[in-house]
Amino acid sequence: MKIGLRLMMLAMLVAMPAMLVAAPARAESTLDKILKEKKIRVAIDVGNPPFGILDKDGQPDGSDVAIARQMAKDMGVELEFVQVPSTGRIPALLAGRADVTIASISVTTDRAKTVMYCNPNGALQIVIFGPKGVAIKTPADLVGKRIGITRATLEEATVPKMAPQGTNIVWFDDISATIQAMLSGQVDAVAMTSFAGKTVADGNPDKQIETKLPVTTAFYGPIVRPGDFELRQWINTWLFLNTQNGTLASLYKKYTGLDLPPLPVF
């Protein structure tokens, strides 16, 4: 019996370290990977004022870019930007090119089928705007006009629904191209965020750009890949804390000039 007991103790002594080493608690999540590599990759769209722009030194800036910087700082990791056009915001995330996309992705049920939303970090309004000479007062006025919209955006999902039959919708791959098209007269009006509209109007006072029609309002938030619950939870926690301490509101106001509306959580 003594030998048996000793044998058993020996076995346990050997087995215990083996068990500690051999069994990981769970598979490595994206959050684990980010913390281990001390680097987070964030997809941004620098052609999307004021959420993402290039400042005069050619460096990324904007409300979402500022949020990304603060988030990385609070996480204690290095930040790497993955610049994408609006059509690349979701594919880049799904392809693993970025860990999270912070590029004013409005919350829609369609997108929620392929990505996981974090809690919203802001709100935006989609409007149709154009030069003064273009007469659009009601949706019916859209008939026969060329309206430029950008692919993979909220306006792409909503404008075709509210524009009557006979509206000539023209698609572009990124927001800067859509803006260019309006400024060069290739389209009569465009649909995008009211913030972008204000930026374009301020930058081109001679064209007298004005808002014509509202389309919809939406909250937008960061998105992560399906299954990245740990990362989503960290981001939500971060959003909660920074709503409480006013950081989100001050960043929003800095770039949009507006007060941050109360943000829902889900």
Binding site: S176, Q180, G203, N204
Partner: protein
């Protein structure tokens, strides 16, 4: 936004040129390795291997560069479950593309060598690999230089397509500056001029070299 196009904006364009050149050179290097492989596969005695090379060339010559870029950039991680950053993905796409065209150019050069050279090498009891290496390839290389340089010009221009997926090289820099200044009539012609400065000298070199090579060998690659 809405600033006028000045020195700062022009410098931004200039700073994108290294990206264009680096991508082109990298793709040329990568494509050279692939292309050599493909060219040789096209002339080996084995029919299945020849078919493989022909299909590869047909695939990349029969599809738009833009599509090749989309599939590689967005599909690589999805297909093979490996994560690559933007640069390697774009470089890979352009290398595979270059490999197909270079392979075809170099096959043409190899086939332009008169049959007599192969036979003479065989008479010296050199096996196929040795025939290729010691006798044929050096001669083929000389013939292949003009069309290869011509393709390099093609490659530099095609790197502009990477702009569509947001990769920052000269064309994308032009888009970004147009967005910042709202002056497409200034920015895009300047971008075109910058490409011209990069490409035209190379084109002239290719044309001059071609005149020195015996055109009767009939390898006129029209790109």
């Amino acid at each position: 936004m809405g600033r006028s196009f000045g020195t700062g904006e022009f410098l931004f364009l200039l700073k994108a040129i290294p990206s264009t050149l680096l991508l082109s050179l990298g793709a040329l290097a990568g494509g050279a390795i692939v292309g050599l492989f493909v060219a040789i596969l096209r002339i080996v005695p084995s029919r299945p291997l020849r078919w493989l090379a022909t299909s590869y060339i047909g695939l990349f010559q029969g599809t738009p560069v833009l599509m090749q870029l989309f599939v590689t950039y967005y599909g690589l991680a999805v297909l093979f479950k490996i994560q690559v950053d933007a640069w390697p993905a774009v470089l890979l796409a352009f290398s595979l593309y270059s490999g197909a065209f270079l392979g075809e150019i170099w096959r043409g050069s190899i086939e332009a060598i008169p049959r007599a050279q192969w036979e003479a090498a065989e008479c010296l009891s050199l096996g196929f690999p040795k025939q290729l290496w010691y006798v044929i390839l050096l001669q083929a290389a000389r013939i292949s230089i003009p069309p290869t340089v011509g393709f390099a010009v093609q490659l530099i221009k095609n790197t502009s397509i990477a702009a569509i997926i947001g990769f920052v090289e000269l064309t994308r820099a032009g888009q970004l500056m147009t967005n910042a200044t709202f002056e497409p009539m200034i920015v895009y012609p300047i971008v075109a001029a910058l490409y011209f400065i990069l490409c035209w000298p190379l084109s002239l070199v290719a044309q001059t070299l071609e005149r020195h090579i015996d055109a009767a060998l009939g390898i006129k690659q029209h790109f």
